[in-house]
């Protein structure tokens, strides 16, 4: 299998408020899989996604998507953040938000094209929100709001989808509908990565798994890594030495690398 991985993390350390939230993380994720990222709260899962999207700068190491830095492949990546990241009182409708998925630096000063609109409507249909097309987003339920975000990501027509806890606070029916959608996307050859919080459904949902606990515990096919031993390492408390060193790094504002990051190869 010589294809370029969808995601490659190399010695990635990401700090939050001077303290490493993710230590020296290294793995690759192949194209075309439906992958889950699991770990306890505050273990660096969201931080990992944000580093992939360039929303936080790593203290060391790098991320490559499809073998290239983010800037070269932005059009091919879609990010679905947690619902709390947006003010839902904003006076926009479902259609407005999904259309935003079509915005590119190149088409900012032109009206949305008919093609854009049709595509947005199709995505809205796919998430079964067609009756709510003109509704302002505060007047949607939690599950509906999540589906708006997903429709927006679909409208981006990306090859890689990163979803941060899409099932948080969402009813079972919506969760099932979203999973069906994700499976469909995967069968079309897209890569889907989901930060997930419910261990019960891991084996059923995902074929690839990344287990995180401030550092990488395991990454690989679910059958290989979803074991009692790895779960214990993931959820059984953090590495105490690592925590202590992380705390020292923060207190002394110590650099995590002696030399500034070299340009990525």
């Amino acid at each position: 299998m010589n294809s370029i991985p969808a995601i490659e993390l190399h010695s990635l350390t990401v700090s939050y408020d001077n303290k490493p939230a993710l230590w020296n993380t290294d793995y690759t994720l192949p194209e075309g899989v439906l992958a889950g990222i699991i770990g306890p709260n505050g273990s660096g899962k969201s931080t990992m996604l944000k580093a992939m999207m360039g929303l936080v700068q790593p203290a060391s190491g790098y991320v490559k998507l499809f073998g290239q830095p983010l800037d070269a492949v932005r059009q091919r990546v879609a990010y679905v953040p947690q619902r709390s990241s947006v003010d839902w009182d904003f006076p926009v409708t479902v259609l407005d938000v999904v259309l935003m998925g079509r915005y590119r630096p190149g088409n900012l000063f032109r009206r949305s094209s008919a093609h854009d609109r049709e595509l947005a409507m199709e995505c809205i249909r796919k998430v079964q929100l067609e009756p709510f097309v003109g509704r302002q987003i505060a007047r949607l339920s939690g599950g509906q709001q999540q589906r708006v975000f997903i429709a927006r990501a679909l409208a981006q027509q990306a090859d890689l989808y990163l979803l941060d806890e899409p099932f948080a606070g969402v009813d079972a029916a919506t969760e099932a509908a979203i999973m069906d959608l994700l499976r469909e996307m995967r069968s079309q050859g897209r890569t889907v990565v989901v930060v997930h919080h419910d261990l019960q459904s891991v084996a059923e949902y995902f074929e690839w798994l990344v287990m995180v606990n401030t550092r990488l515990v395991a990454a690989g096919p679910v059958a290989d890594v979803f074991t009692a031993d790895k779960l214990q390492q993931t959820y059984g408390g953090s590495l105490s030495i690592l925590s202590q060193v992380g705390e020292l790094v923060r207190q002394q504002a110590h650099p995590v690398r002696e030399t500034p990051r070299p340009p990525m190869p």
């Binding site: 999207m53 360039g54 929303l55 800037d71 932005r74 990546v77 990010y79 953040p81 990241s85 947006v86 003010d87 904003f90 006076p91 926009v92 409708t93 407005d96 938000v97 935003m100 915005y103 590119r104 630096p105 088409n107 900012l108 000063f109 949305s112 079964q128 009756p131 709510f132 302002q136 505060a138 007047r139 949607l140 339920s141 599950g143 509906q144 927006r152 009813d171 029916a173 919506t174 099932a176 509908a177």
Partner: protein
């Protein structure tokens, strides 16, 4: 109602619409108090422009104000990001420091700066009809402020029409904008630049401080009345124009500050909008129903 009355109201209306449009975006971005800061902090820019140019030449004043407006924006950002100071304190320190500087300059150079401090704060819109633009060949083109404010409004309208998508995106979801490669920072500075320009062009008519009532009141009222963006912009503009007209009438009746009266009318409009909003909420139907799977 004389022509002069109409001119005064028109000037107020132009200020009102410009500020309503800009203020709506400020409100949605949570940057109202930065708008407040800018409207105060342009004062030293105006004073220095006076000292430098020796006159009320609007071009130089505009430049001075724009400079200080952007300085304010940058200063607040710097304090928040680099000095790690909480956002509200960053705003407070920057605008009070610059405003104090402005007052000191105006008081110290009162001889050279033909600016009355009262006028700066409250404006003197009644003088607008007197401030005429006279062409070299003697033709009278009407009051200068009307032309300037008209030009400002055109520029703002053009901005909103042309840059609607980036303004909307960076206001609603700056993280998504950043991920898509669209710089939220650039649009932040563009918007604040326009706010600086609006402040300086309006200060002669409504005063530096009262520009804020036009920036905050009508958009807040509109926000409570509608959940769509385009209606919000229209409602805010309408509320502003109404306040300009009614405010003038109120000021004439009480023989008081015209700008102050306009602010009071804005307050009344907001109170009505609030009452409507609360009434609607009380009699509204149940919260959004769970849709069938």
């Amino acid at each position: 109602m004389t022509t002069d009355d109409l001119l005064i109201i028109a000037t107020g209306a132009l200020v009102a619409v410009s500020c309503a449009l800009l203020g709506s975006f400020l409100l949605l971005r949570g940057m109202t108090m930065i708008g407040d800061a800018i409207s105060h902090a342009v004062l030293p820019g105006i004073a220095i422009a006076y000292l430098v140019s020796g006159s009320r030449a609007s071009g130089i004043m505009l430049a001075g104000a724009a400079l200080f407006g952007l300085l304010t924006t940058a200063g607040i950002e710097w304090l928040r990001e680099r000095a790690r100071l909480q956002a509200d304190a960053s705003i407070g320190i920057v605008f009070t420091g610059l405003f104090a500087l402005g007052i000191v300059l105006i008081s110290a150079y009162a001889g050279q700066i033909d600016l009355d401090l009262d006028c700066v704060l409250f404006g003197e819109i009644a003088y607008v009809p007197l401030d005429l633009w006279i062409l070299p060949d003697g033709r009278v083109m009407g009051p200068v402020p009307v032309w300037l404010l008209g030009g400002l409004l055109l520029a703002i309208a053009a901005l909103i029409v042309i840059a609607y998508k980036p303004l909307l995106l960076t206001s609603f979801d700056p993280m998504h904008a950043a991920a898509a490669g669209i710089s939220a920072v650039v649009w932040h500075y563009i918007l604040m630049g326009f706010v600086s320009a609006a402040t300086v062009l309006s200060f002669e008519s409504v005063g530096a401080i009262l520009v804020l009532s036009f920036l905050t009141g009508p958009p807040a009222a509109a926000f409570l009345l509608t959940r769509r963006l385009r209606p919000m912009l229209l409602l805010a503009s309408g509320a502003g124009v109404l306040a300009a007209g009614l405010g003038y009438g109120l000021a004439v009746w009480l023989d008081g500050s015209i700008a102050g009266a306009m602010a009071v009318v804005i307050g009344a409009e907001f109170a009505l909008a609030l009452a409507w909003h609360l009434y609607r909420r009380r009699t509204a139907s149940a919260p959004p129903a769970e849709e069938p799977a």
